[in-house]
């Protein structure tokens, strides 16, 4: 394949397919008017005093974001509830099924969840000013229920002390080499939204035969997509088959011996929308939090200290990291993930036996 450069516009077009399922517009879309952060909103939020955010983003990153919000708006305590996206989805379902309304704002690494929540009428329409002005149509809901707060990739990686650059796998197909038996770590689609989305894209592009062969490599199975990078950092395994690019950036930039590989077949792009629940116990704080999350300050912080990628038009990528425009991406289809999610999990469990 010739190396072809994607321009920013091509990326946005390319991720239109990703966004298409999530942000599919019905004939008459009625997004509410954009709302700015007004002093009245801040006052009302301070009266409520707290906001509860369910997310699957890696815990230290989530806590830093929460602390930054608390520093920006003192008087509002932000509590983070972190578990794998599939577990977040299960928890929300369990809580709402028993009419327990504990969650204000939710962020999920499985974009398909937002299709389900919107369909079930659980989300509240709210369009922050930044979303209306600076976000492309592909990355915000036409009815204003959610927008892409973060984006990242599920990458291959290796520990540089255990593997040389020449020996390192360059593609998904390389991982099937017998020399990697017992040396691979990967996440599980039953717990992690990232891995579920990546597994869908890979099974569509590479076929389930790929996973059948991968299952024979005696992989170390972990749950979260944040765990393989950490296992690489510990030196527990030499290579990871999937895992969060943002964790890899953070580890590498803090001096740990890890390196990212963008597979030649294409890298799965994962999108993490943010939305407010209709029955949020702290609605004003939720709105303030949502608005703040999409400001350029918060988005830039997510890039700098979170290693994430942003679709905010004014956001600048951190130097030293490969820009999104230079990476070949796999196309996503959140609507298809929503339909085949259970099937993917079942097939995976059958193949990998856990």
């Amino acid at each position: 394949m010739r190396g072809w450069k994607f321009s920013r516009r091509d990326i946005l077009k390319g991720s239109a397919a990703l966004a298409a399922g999530v942000y599919a517009t019905p004939l008459k879309a009625q997004a509410p008017a954009a709302e700015a952060i007004t002093p009245a909103l801040v006052e009302a939020a301070k009266k409520e005093g707290k906001i509860i955010w369910y997310t699957s983003v890696d815990l230290p990153v989530a806590e830093k974001i929460a602390k930054a919000f608390e520093a920006r708006y003192p008087g509002i305590a932000a509590r983070v509830e972190r578990s794998g996206a599939e577990r977040v989805f299960q928890r929300v379902g369990q809580e709402y099924g028993s009419r327990i309304y504990a969650v204000d704002v939710v962020n999920s690494s499985d974009a398909a969840h937002f299709i389900v929540w919107k369909r079930d009428g659980l989300l509240a329409p709210y369009v922050p000013e930044d979303v209306a002005k600076h976000y492309p149509a592909d990355h915000k809901d036409a009815d204003g229920m959610f927008a892409t707060w973060r984006a990242w990739l599920s990458v291959i990686g290796y520990n540089t002390e255990l593997v040389t650059r020449e020996d390192a796998p360059k593609s998904f197909a390389d991982l099937l080499d017998p020399k990697w038996v017992g040396k691979i770590v990967k996440g599980h689609p039953g717990y992690s939204g990232t891995i579920l989305t990546a597994t869908f894209q890979m099974s569509r592009d590479l076929g389930w035969e790929y996973f059948e062969k991968l299952a024979k490599q005696k992989i170390m199975q972990v749950q979260s997509s944040a765990d393989p990078p950490k296992k690489l950092s510990l030196g527990e395994r030499a290579v990871m088959a999937d895992g969060n690019e943002y964790n890899m950036f953070l580890l590498k930039e803090s001096g740990r011996p890890v390196e990212i590989v963008y597979p030649t077949e294409g890298t799965p792009l994962i999108v993490g929308p943010n939305g407010i629940f209709k029955n949020a116990p702290n609605p004003n704080a939720a709105r303030l939090f949502q608005s703040w999350m999409f400001t350029i300050e918060a988005q830039q912080m997510a890039i700098e200290i979170g290693g994430l990628r942003s679709f905010h038009a004014l956001a600048k990528e951190k130097p030293g990291r490969k820009p999104l425009s230079e990476i070949k991406l796999m196309k996503d289809d959140a609507a298809a993930v929503e339909k085949s999610g259970e099937d993917i999990k079942t097939r995976y469990t059958q193949l990998f036996r856990v």
Binding site: P60, M220, Q223, L234
Partner: protein, 576 residues
């Protein structure tokens, strides 16, 4: 004369009125017990036999038997429990004998260390062993490679394997066998061994033909308990089995609640565990029988200690070697990970950091809430549980009401319900009207009280049995009701046991995971669940900080109970 009769009649009337109050209280407790135990079980049975639409079906069970995804975990669990049980007995019996029947130096310390492995939560031990024995990054394997110069891929131990899981489970289950064996050996009166010596039996002959056979029932009972515990553990398999690539029954049941949840299958999978547990408990009961162990009164002779002579120090070394595994190595690994920048690297001046502690206590927003919840639940469960256990054990020991046998059965019944099964049952019971307790601390309180009741009941039962009924009878002859006799006479005599039980239950709540994992919500998270969540994303350093904090609180509780003036003997394993 007339006034005397009148007074007597009045007293009799008052006595019957007061007796009614006692009866009422007792019946209330019995009712609470019934609701606690029967309600979740009945929902479990309902869901097991019903399909999605609500019609009766045996399809759930059929799927259990046909689908290899269920049959494999069942077989795995069976092999796991059997092997762990054998290992526990092989380890605990010699140490129990050494501690109870010989002049082993530092016996007291060995007992304390076994208590330490008793109170360590098995899931925390599993995580600590990950730090030690992960094939590539584990501390022990690194040391092995450094010492022997072995190549990068070689390792000595792989904790992510079936033997690895058996090892970790045995580490934290052997105290159960130890307690049973050591206590039974403690109680064997010295008369029998003296008689054997008088008849010319040497030390070893006596041990072999008198002491050990007398302890065999306790050992068998211990083996059964160890089997049960291994079968129903959730935390350790959840942490070690997934990376190793297999499921056990408990992790399979838990995975059935992933979206979309399949409560019918979960209920159906829980019922075989329940039935098996009941069968094993019956077997244990038959083996142990209803032996009377009332020893207060000093009727038996002091047990004769076997002199080990030159074997004293090797025997002690053996004990410490065994205790290396549940106590010294894991605690060391946790301590190391707390202060190290990279969890599986030994702390040196270069990579020493306090950032992990700072993160857990100042940045992690869930910590304070989890700590608060755990303490509230611990104190409440201990208080309520001990109260119920005191009343029920008194009633059964003194045979105060008809049907006391049924009451005793109900009090020990929760042992037959594996933690995760109880969690499923409670979830199914309390997420529907009229009592929607899901999402509150109440449902966790109910779960914890139910789980800790049997142990509390048995402890207090044996304590009450050791107190002769004459003392209360004297009080009742003088006109006190049962409850008054209990409050004024028996309870003070049981003071140390009651405090010991309170602490035991409190500590038990801190390490409980299998039921809590099903019932928690973000507002009602407890420390054990927080640690489990942190393990999902691989935050080992944070886990170590939280785990050590938990252990410090646990040991502080135990020590405090021992030190409070007036509470004498305090917690020794003897009191169990």
């Amino acid at each position: 004369m007339a006034s005397l009769t009148h007074d007597a009649a009045e007293r009799a009337l008052m006595r019957s009125a007061r007796l009614d109050l006692s009866r009422l209280v007792i019946f209330t407790f019995a009712l609470i017990l019934c609701v606690l135990i029967v309600l979740p079980l009945s929902w479990l049975f309902y869901y097991g036999f019903v399909d999605r639409a609500g019609n009766f079906t045996l399809g759930n069970f059929r799927q259990l038997v046909i689908d290899p995804a269920f049959v494999e975990p069942l077989i795995t669990t069976f092999i796991l429990a059997t092997t762990a049980s054998i290992v526990c007995c092989a380890v605990a019996a010699p140490i129990g004998w050494l501690v109870a029947r010989t002049d082993l130096p530092m016996r007291g310390l060995v007992r304390v260390l076994v208590t330490a492995s008793f109170v360590t939560p098995p899931f925390l031990g599993a995580i600590a062993w990950e730090l030690l024995a992960a094939p590539n990054s584990g501390l022990l394997n690194r040391a092995f490679r450094a010492l022997t110069g072995a190549p990068q891929d070689d390792y000595l131990f792989n904790i992510y394997s079936f033997p690895g899981l058996i090892f970790v489970i045995s580490c934290y289950t052997f105290p159960y066998v130890f307690v049973l064996v050591a206590n039974s050996l403690d109680r064997i009166p010295g008369d029998l061994e003296d008689a054997s010596s008088i008849l010319g039996g040497k030390t070893w002959t006596t041990a072999r033909r008198i002491t050990i056979p007398l302890a065999m029932p306790a050992l068998l009972a211990g083996a059964l308990v160890a089997f049960l515990q291994s079968m129903t553990l959730f935390g350790s398999p959840a942490i070690l089995a997934l990376p190793a690539g297999f499921h056990t029954m408990t992790t399979k049941i838990w995975s059935l609640f992933q979206y979309p949840p399949k409560p019918e299958l979960a209920a159906a999978a829980s019922l075989p565990l329940l039935v098996l547990t009941v069968i094993l408990l019956r077997a244990e009961h038959m083996v142990l029988g209803r032996r009377g162990y009332s020893v207060v009164g000093g009727k038996g002779a002091e047990p004769r200690l076997v002199r080990l002579k030159f074997l004293r120090w090797p025997a002690l070394a053996l004990c410490f070697f065994v205790l290396l595994n549940p106590v010294f190595l894991p605690y060391g690994a946790l301590l190391n990970a707390t202060f190290s920048k990279v969890a599986t690297q030994i702390v040196t001046p270069q990579n020493f950091t306090l950032h992990n502690i700072e993160f857990v206590f100042f940045e992690l927003s869930a910590t304070r809430l989890a700590l608060k919840n755990t303490f509230i639940l611990g104190a409440a469960t201990a208080t309520i549980g001990t109260l119920i256990a005191v009343v029920i054990s008194y009633v059964t020991a003194r045979k105060a009401v008809t049907g006391y046998r049924a009451l005793g059965f109900l009090a020990t019944a929760p042992v037959a319900i594996p933690g995760i099964v109880l969690g499923v049952g409670l979830f199914l019971s309390y997420t529907r009207p009229p009592f929607i307790l899901y999402g509150t601390l109440w449902i966790l309180l109910i779960a914890f009280v139910t789980i800790s009741l049997p142990a509390a009941y048995q402890q207090l039962q044996s304590a009450i049995r050791a107190v002769h009924p004459d003392l209360e009878d004297a009080s009742r002859i003088l006109g006190a009701t049962r409850l008054q006799a209990l409050g004024h006479i028996t309870a003070p005599l049981l003071r140390t046991s009651v405090i010991a039980t309170w602490c035991f239950v409190f500590v038990g709540v801190m390490r409980e995971l299998s039921a809590a994992i099903m019932l928690f919500t973000s507002e009602t998270k407890v420390i054990s669940v927080l640690i489990f969540d942190l393990n999902e994303s691989g935050d080992l350093a944070a886990i170590s900080v939280l785990g050590l904090s938990m252990l410090i609180v646990t040991f502080a509780t135990v020590l405090l109970a021992n030190r409070i003036p007036g509470f004498g003997g305090g917690i020794r394993l003897r009191n169990h």
